[in-house]
Assembly symmetry: C2
Amino acid sequence: MLKIERFITEFAKEFDESFINLLPSNKYSLKLYKAMKYSISVGGKRLRPLFLMEISKIFGVNKKMAFRAAAAIELIHCYSLVHDDLPAMDDDDMRRGHKTCHKQFDDATAILVGDAFQSLAFEILSDKKTHPNPEVRCILINELSRASGAMGMVGGQMLDLDAEKKKLSLEEILLLQKLKTGELFRFSCIAGLILSEKKEFKKFINFAKNLGLAFQIKDDLLDIEGDEKKMGKKTKKDYSRGKETLISFFGKDKAKKKSEELIQNSKKLLEPFGPRAKRVIDLTNFVISRNW
Amino acid sequence: MLKIERFITEFAKEFDESFINLLPSNKYSLKLYKAMKYSISVGGKRLRPLFLMEISKIFGVNKKMAFRAAAAIELIHCYSLVHDDLPAMDDDDMRRGHKTCHKQFDDATAILVGDAFQSLAFEILSDKKTHPNPEVRCILINELSRASGAMGMVGGQMLDLDAEKKKLSLEEILLLQKLKTGELFRFSCIAGLILSEKKEFKKFINFAKNLGLAFQIKDDLLDIEGDEKKMGKKTKKDYSRGKETLISFFGKDKAKKKSEELIQNSKKLLEPFGPRAKRVIDLTNFVISRNW
């Protein structure tokens, strides 16, 4: 295992231990609690929390505070996976090598698990443990709610469902990706600046734009070329459905090249931070070098 | 039509005009926007917003601010209806005399509409238009997220789904009702105090407890005795499914008497506010006198 892969695996393990403790301890419905715990225990790379926490480090943000913002975005990401896997949506039985929530429990439970994760994300951010300044908490909530909603992730998922049925232009594919994955990456990349009460996000918004799109191209490549075992889910899904992606638009080679350019652009934006940004640069490289 | 019914109808009309304007104006996905608009346009009594705004008036809260908090709670309520109506949950085709969201559109769209409503509720509360003091906004968000999540409405819905399959004790029925409807009523009844930066909610928490339970008993009575046309939805659903309610536990007469006692208790708590609470008292009476 490469050094960066080991680092990511160890981060995920440490993150998950505290993450599970954020679930409500008083369980009125044991079934709901079990399904929530199951859905966050099946793991994942925790890339969004990792970028959030490593960028926060550059700005000297308290680790516990960064963790809470990281947990909030991961809850939003987890809720979107649980809902997207439902039969009415992408209809997936396996995720990260485990049964999806509705397969392990049932559809109704999976709907409620997703709903409860979303509420919990905002509950966490609104608590003063996340930051002593309530203005900072409100900015985080405003950014995350917009990134998640109809003008962000949910809007992107809606476009994605429609994308199976019609031919998209390049602009439409880019909009879909921006909403579906880009907006959450954007939050990951600016949350540290919000927590450190910086006002100027432009550099990190551009960083996130490049990173998010590179991540999506790599995801689409892995859907075509990836190893099902390593990925823990069915591959060639989008491809066999004829869903349009940047790969189907550009072709594999050109898309790969594009993702490399995007990663170069991302790293360039981090240059002014010198060695403090070393870890974030390693993670940025990983986004397209990964095979899981 | 009684005076109070006319007042409620007029309030709902006025509320809805501004409510629809809170939907995102830049529509990336027209289908999602249409389904969101449809789901809030099919109406409803808007009782939660009405209690919130009328109690806010007692404490001299600015109407525009109270409206935004009222819109947030109604969005949470609307999202719960859209998700609860899904085939995987209560499987309802009609609501308020119109097709439910998943019947008018499809299941995937209904899931996304609910998800987007929830994000929008927190986006609205986090915006400084809701209150100049960010601490107040954080308290509203914290209260609403807890009222909505696993320890509130979603937890109650989970218990409710299980309630079809097993016999419940009185304590379990009361817990289910407290979570499923009581917590949102609690928010409606304390939001005005939060907005006016009062610290002492106890009286209104008790008011909400009595009111929420009386509301639920009346809802269960209407499920048995109500007129489908007036209600705009199928009745006798819970009854025919053998779902346990306070009616099945106490019998109709005793449950009715209980609801009257609860309303008396509620009104007693408002006495110290004298004539300023007149409208809230009228609404409190309506909760059990209504036939829709």
